[in-house]
Subunit: 333 residues, 2 copies
């Protein structure tokens, strides 16, 4: 287990791989410490088209959270959000199982206009973020569309059909990422990995948030290249006490044949991560995590408010600093 007793200088340039809420909260904490030194590579496999508008839920959750606009009461969406537009869309007979708030809709309207005008998703995303005062850079994992689909007893479903419309009720038996063959790491993503002093895998769903990011051609290679340079990769468990903080990761672990624990998550990151942060309630799993070749770090990982977000972020950065100092497990003598 890495000792945190002799503090090392924290990494200043960090790449975070993130899905929605969990990654957004850790990202918010990291931004508080790192400011512009933080780059978040965000999953776009959850993207969808609604009412002719292009919606990018993970990007927008991260963007709103880092802009301080996240709705703390609901745990999703924008603070003060209203749904006058959605009610009117309903009157017009539009399907509204994926309800878009009045404020949120503006994001999709601007994004759609610009993408139709031929701008790159990455450029559009960065402009949206700047307009909201986000200091970190949130990069779509790719500029070409990738669409996650899940296999259930009802056959292959679009991700949001499973996630929102069916409330994650069906068991997920398999996954695929439509368009992943055409997706390649953007120059912005590659530059961020090249500059990174630490790489963090957020407490996001390993299957539908992290895996699509790593499946984009060039991204896992960039991560591994960074590791060979001694850049540590710190993964954070989104499973605490056998339950997902948010979303269906626990049920998905089980239905895909894994253990629905932090250890089950850690197993997804062998060969990818160097350090694994698990919550204090899961301390007993630390030796098994270490046996996988990951340095376990036990900490309070719940990010219930701003100080907790920053505290979790600091744990992650200190773990990275320590890992850089001591080297990877295989390098220790």
């Amino acid at each position: 287990m890495v000792s945190l007793s002799h503090p090392q200088p924290l990494p200043e340039r960090v790449v975070l791989l993130a899905g929605g809420v969990g990654g957004a909260r850790l990202g918010h904490g990291l931004q508080a410490i790192l400011g512009r030194g933080l780059t978040i590579v965000v999953n776009t496999g959850d993207d969808l088209e609604r009412h002719g508008l292009l919606v990018s839920p993970d990007h927008d959750t991260v963007m709103y959270t880092l802009a301080g606009l996240d709705n703390r009461e609901w745990g999703w969406g924008l603070a003060g959000e209203t749904f006058a537009n959605a009610e009117m869309l309903e009157r017009y007979g539009e399907e509204t199982w994926f309800r878009l708030g009045d404020r949120d809709l503006a994001t999709h309207v601007v994004r759609t206009r610009r993408l139709r005008a031929g701008d790159r998703p990455t450029e559009v995303a960065l402009d949206l973020q700047r307009a909201l005062g986000v200091r970190a850079a949130i990069l779509p994992m790719a500029d070409t569309p990738v669409r996650t689909q899940v296999l259930t007893d009802d056959g292959w479903l679009e991700f949001q059909d499973y996630f929102v419309r069916r409330h994650q009720a069906p068991d997920v038996l398999d996954l695929r990422f439509e368009g992943i063959e055409e997706a390649t790491a953007t120059p912005e993503v590659l530059a961020a990995f090249e500059a990174a002093e630490a790489i963090v895998i957020g407490p996001s769903n390993p299957f539908v948030s992290v895996r699509p990011i790593l499946a984009v051609a060039g991204i896992e290679a960039a991560l591994q290249t960074a590791r060979t340079r001694g850049v540590p990769v710190v993964a954070v468990s989104g499973i605490v006490g056998g339950k997902a903080i948010k979303g269906p990761a626990d049920r998905m672990l089980r239905s895909l044949g894994h253990e629905a624990t932090a250890l089950g998550v850690a197993r997804q990151y062998t060969g990818i991560a160097d350090v694994f942060v698990l919550d204090q309630v899961d301390e007993a799993l630390a030796p098994e995590v270490e046996a996988l070749g990951l340095n376990p770090v036990v900490a309070d990982t719940l990010m219930t408010d701003d100080p907790a977000r920053e505290r979790a972020a600091r744990v992650v950065l200190e773990a990275a600093a320590e890992a850089r100092h001591v080297g990877r497990p295989g390098e220790r003598t």
Copy 2:
């Protein structure tokens, strides 16, 4: 002057040519009497694209008014409208001189999605209307885009640039309708004229609301064909006491070299209309209207509330009934 003392049966199938607010209010009154017997042919020269969405202000004003959703307090837009979306668009740096309400935006989102999918504007409009419970049919004057432009000291301006952004401040020196050469009357518009027992020209701006409609290939011909069948055309003055009830018609009459009175409006409709309805405050102008070859009908034309809208509509229908009975001026012996 047509006598209204011996009531004739009212026409049951009526075509109304309309721009925005004034035409919408008369249309609302006519719908109360005629229900599905009313077809409104609406100006689309004011249409524009905002934030990548297709906006059709005159159609939507008429639709909301006939659906009973018009904002009586403001005199435009939807009742209970909010602007959360527009505030967010502003944060994104979008131009918001043409602000779209949260509810209103739904109309443009659905319209844009369907037009991009290849549906005809007329079909889309009728579906939107049905969803809101409108009984009359509101037909776009054409299915191809027409864009009104006005010549000012600043050169040619898009209509909404002049109307909304510059608050109708510049003098209008000339007009043109981009795309009018390609615009032709739709089957729905032609069928409505063929079935019409009366044609009404609403109290709309003669230059930027009525003229573009009549300039669409086939529409004025359909109107004249109906007249030869004895179908009366009743025009209503939108100028009362030398002022436009709504909009810049009075200033436009002047800057285009006409008299800013009901008589100035009547002169725009010689050879097109048979009856001209002017407000009671303008009674003194009736003989001059008659001298133009139009039968003047003097009435209270202000449509301040629902009963006033229906009262004005009844005046128009009674005038049409009477004109059918007595024939056109030239036919009287």
